[in-house]
C-alpha cells in the first residue's frame, strides 16, 4: 500500500492491489474452516525437521509489505558510489541473507517470503490461520498484536551491543530508539517486541505553480473549495481521520498558546488521537464535505494523477511522495512536498515475531533476529532505501554509509548557487546540534525529496503517532467511515422518489397487462 515503488516501474504491475486483496480475502473467508484443517496438517509435517538438532535446516516465514525490500538485479549504471565503497544490489536481499546466514552461522536457512497489501489484510491473514514467523506491520498494528499477546519478545542477545553482528542494536538511529523505548502499550515498551524497519510522515505533494507552500501546509487544503475536485485523499479511515482532525482543530493547534505549553508533544498527540463521540461526529460531517470536494479517495492512483497533472495536490506518505517527485522530474515537471503545520502522522513499520510461528523454537527466533540484523546492515539499509524510496530507521552508528548515502543523493554540487545547511543531527546522533551530520543541499530540496525522506527536526517536533483504537471505539470509527462513503437515502430529493414510484407503477402496469393479454391469447388458442 505504502509501497508502490521503483519496483512498480520495473515490473509494471497494475495498480489493483486493494481490489485483488479484498477478493482474495473474500475467498479466504469462505474457506476459513477448511484452511484451519490444512494448516494444522502442514505444521505437523514441518516442525520435526526444523527443530531437529543436527544437520538442521531452518525455515523462516517472512511476511512484509508489497515491494518493500530490494529484489536485486540493478542496472550497471545504478551503482551507488560512496566514499566508503560501492553499494550494488546484485541478488535479492532474501537470497543474500540465506547465503550470509550460512556463511556466518553455518546453518542453512530457507526464507519463505510473502507480502501483504495493508495492515488490515495482514491481520486478517493471521486471523484466518496463516502462520508467519516474522512480519512487518505499522506501529498501530504491532501495538494491537502486542495487546493481544500474539508476539514473542526480542531476545537479550539481539540487544547486546557487543556482538558485531547486531547491526540493528548498533545502528538504529538514536531518535528511533527513543521513540521505541518511550512508547508502550499495557505497560510494555515497543522496543521489547519490535525492531524498526522504515519510517516516515504524511504530507501533501503539490504543484508549486498552483499552490504556495503555505497554502499546501495545512490539512484544510483537502476541504478547500478553491481546489474543487483537484485534490486527492487517502482511501483508508485512519489517514482520513487524522487529516480531518488536523483540519477541524487547525486554529487551536496553530495557536501560540497551545504550542508554547510545556507538555506540547503529549497534548498534541492527545488532540490528534481524539476519538470522543463529538469529534467523530464532526469528522464525519467534515469528511462528507471533503468527499464532494476531492478528486478521489485513492490508494495507488494518486501518484499517477499527480504526475500527469490531473490533480494539483494529494495526500501522500513521505516515501510515496519521494517517488512521485522523482517520477515527475523525469518529465521536467517539478512538484513539492509540504508537511502540514497542524501536525503530521509519523509512522514506523517494524519487524515483530509471532508466537504462532516462533514460540518455543530457538532456531527460528535466531534466524528471524538475524534477518532483522541483516536488513539493518548499513549497506543493506541503503540498498532497500534506494530500491523502495522509504527511509530506513538505521542511522549506521559508527558506520558512516547511511549519512554518505543521504549526501550522495541530496548534497549540493560544487557549482550550485543557492545552498543551505540542513542539520540531521537529531536522527544520526544523540545530539541535534551535532554539526558532523549537517548536509549542504540546494535550497529547493528542503521542500522536495529531502524534506520528505528526512523531515526536518522542526517538522518532527509537531508530529503525532496515531495509536490503535480498540473494541467499541474502533467500531464507531469504522461505522463513521461507512457513513461517509455510503449514499444517505435521506439525501434523495422528493422528486426522485415521485419519479421512481411512478416508473415502478408504470412498469408493473405494463407487465401485468402483457400477462393478461397473453393469457387471453393462450386461452383462445386452446
Amino acid at each position: 500500500m505504502r509501497t508502490f515503488f521503483k519496483e512498480h516501474q520495473r515490473s509494471g504491475r497494475p495498480g489493483m492491489s486493494r481490489q485483488a486483496g479484498t477478493a482474495a480475502l473474500a475467498a479466504a473467508l469462505v474457506l476459513s474452516g477448511l484452511a484451519g484443517v490444512t494448516y494444522a496438517g502442514t505444521e505437523q509435517t514441518e516442525e520435526p525437521s526444523t527443530s531437529a538438532p543436527s544437520g538442521k535446516k531452518v525455515v523462516l516465514r517472512v511476511c512484509n509489505w508489497e515491494e518493500y525490500i530490494d529484489l536485486g538485479e540493478w542496472g550497471e549504471d545504478e551503482v551507488i558510489d560512496l566514499e566508503s565503497g560501492d553499494i550494488f544490489g546484485e541478488n535479492s536481499m532474501v537470497q543474500d541473507f540465506e547465503d550470509w546466514y550460512y556463511e556466518t552461522y553455518g546453518i542453512e536457512v530457507n526464507v519463505e517470503y510473502s507480502t501483504f497489501g495493508t495492515n488490515e489484510d495482514l491481520y486478517n491473514m493471521l486471523t484466518l490461520g496463516d502462520v508467519y514467523d516474522l512480519v512487518c506491520p505499522s506501529e498501530y498494528m504491532f501495538m494491537k498484536l502486542m495487546a493481544e499477546k500474539q508476539l514473542v519478545p526480542l531476545s537479550d542477545a539481539f540487544k547486546d551491543s557487543s556482538d558485531p553482528y547486531n547491526y540493528y542494536t548498533n545502528g538504529v538511529s538514536p531518535y528511533i530508539r527513543k521513540v521505541f523505548e518511550n512508547h508502550e502499550i499495557n505497560g510494555e515498551k515497543w522496543s521489547d517486541y519490535a525492531a524498526g524497519y522504515m519510517w516516515g510522515v504524511t504530507g501533501i505533494v503539490y504543484n508549486p505553480e498552483a499552490l504556495t507552500h503555505e497554502e499546501a501546509s495545512t490539512w484544510k487544503v483537502l476541504g478547500d473549495p478553491k481546489y474543487d475536485r483537484q485534490v486527492t485523499i487517502k482511501d483508508n479511515v485512519r489517514d482520513s481521520y487524522f487529516a480531518a482532525v488536523g483540519a477541524l482543530k487547525s486554529d487551536m493547534l496553530l495557536s501560540e498558546e497551545f504550542r508554547s505549553q510545556a507538555d506540547y508533544p503529549v497534548r498534541l498527540e492527545e488532540e490528534m488521537n481524539d476519538v470522543s463521540p463529538e469529534t467523530i461526529q464532526e469528522v464525519q460531517d467534515y469528511l462528507q464535505d471533503v468527499k464532494d470536494n476531492v478528486y478521489s479517495f485513492e490508494t495507488d492512483s494518486g501518484k499517477a494523477d499527480m504526475i500527469t497533472g490531473k490533480v494539483l495536490a494529494n495526500y501522500q506518505w513521505s516515501g510515496d511522495a519521494v517517488y512521485t517527485m522523482d517520477q515527475a522530474e523525469e518529465d521536467d515537471y517539478y512538484l513539492n512536498f509540504a508537511i502540514p503545520e497542524e501536525s503530521t502522522n509519523i509512522y514506523f513499520d517494524g519487524w515483530v515475531m509471532l508466537r504462532s510461528g516462533v514460540e518455543g523454537n530457538a532456531d527460528k527466533q535466531h534466524a528471524a533476529e538475524a534477518f532483522i540484523n541483516f536488513c539493518s546492515r548499513p549497506d543493506n539499509a541503503v540498498r532497500n532505501m534506494y530500491y523502495i524510496g522509504y527511509t530506513s530507521v538505521i542511522a549506521g552508528g559508527d558506520d558512516s554509509r547511511i549519512f554518505e548515502y543521504a549526501d550522495w543523493t541530496y548534497g549540493a554540487e560544487e557549482d550550485e548557487e543557492e545552498v543551505v545547511d540542513y542539520p540531521l543531527g537529531y536522527f544520526f546522533s544523540e545530539d541535534p546540534e551535532n554539526e558532523d551530520y549537517t548536509l549542504t543541499v540546494p535550497a529547493e530540496q528542503l521542500i522536495r525529496q529531502l524534506g520528505a525522506q528526512y523531515p526536518s527536526e522542526e517538522a518532527i517536533s509537531r508530529s503525532s503517532i496515531m495509536v490503535f483504537f480498540d473494541g467499541e471505539k474502533n467500531d464507531t470509527i469504522n461505522q463513521m467511515w461507512i457513513n461517509v462513503r455510503c449514499f444517505n437515502i435521506l439525501d434523495v430529493p422528493v422528486w426522485i422518489w415521485v419519479i421512481t414510484v411512478l416508473a415502478l407503477a408504470a412498469l408493473l402496469y405494463v407487465y401485468l397487462s402483457a400477462r393478461h393479454r397473453q393469457k387471453l391469447y393462450l386461452g383462445s388458442s386452446k
Binding site: Q19, G33, E120, F297, E298, I489, V492
Partner: protein
Amino acid sequence: MRVLKFSRKSLGIPYAVFLVLFVALPLLVLLYYAFTNGQGQFTVSNFAGFFTDPNTLGTLCYSLAVAFVTTLVCLLLAYPAAYFLATSHMKRKQVLILLFIMPMWINFSLRITALKELLTLFEGNLARYPFMNAVIGMSYDFLPFMILPIYNTLSRLDISLIEAAKDLGANDVSAFLKVTLPLSVPGIVSGVSMVFLPAMTNYVVLDMLYNSTYIMGSLIGSYFSAYNWHGGSMIALILLAIIIAFTLLTRGMEDDNQRTVGGALL
C-alpha cells in the same frame, strides 16, 4: 448395461465434490457469519441494522440506481445493434459479431484505464460526474452481455411470422411491436439479468473511475477490512436474496414465452 449406468453416474462425482467444497460449504459459512455476532451468538441484528440505517439502505438504492440505469443504457444500445446484426444480409456478418465480442478479449482493467483517459479528454475533470462515469464504465464493460442474447433470439426468429403479420395488414412498426419485440423478450430478459446483477456489485469500475460513493460490493470490502466478517456476510446474503428474487421473477416471464415461442437461449 449396469456397469455402463454406474460409470455414467460416476462422471458427475468430480463436479459434485466441487459443488460441495466450493459452493455449499462456503454458503454455510456465509450463513453462519451473517446470523451471528462477534461472540458467536445467533442474531438478526446485522440485518435489522442494515434495513434501519439510512446510509446502508442508501447504498442499496444507489447500487440499484446504477444497475438500473446501466441496464437501460445497455438495452437501448444493444437492441438496435442486435436487430441490425440479425436482420442484415451482409456476407461477413460473423466478422461484425466478432467486433462486438472483441472488447471482452482485452483485459478489463486495461479497458477501464483507457476509458478513464478518454473520459478525461471529454469531460475535463472526471470527478465532477461520478454517477454518469459509473454508468458509462459499466455499460462499456457489460454491453456484449446484452447484445449476444438478444442477437441470438432475433436471429432465430421465424421470418414467416413477420410476413404473416404484414400479409394481415400490419405496417413495419406494428409488425415490430406486435411480433418481433414480444418474441425477443427471452433474449432481453437474459441480457438484463446478465447486466443488472453484476452492475450492482462491480465496484472496481467505480473505484477506477473515481466514484467515491460505495455500492454493495464496496460495502462488503469495507466491512471485511474492518475485520467485520458478520457485516460483510450479511451484505453478501442480501445480494444473494436479491439475485434469487430477480431470477424467480424473470423465470416466470421466460416460461410464459417458452410456451408460445418454444425456445429459450443461452
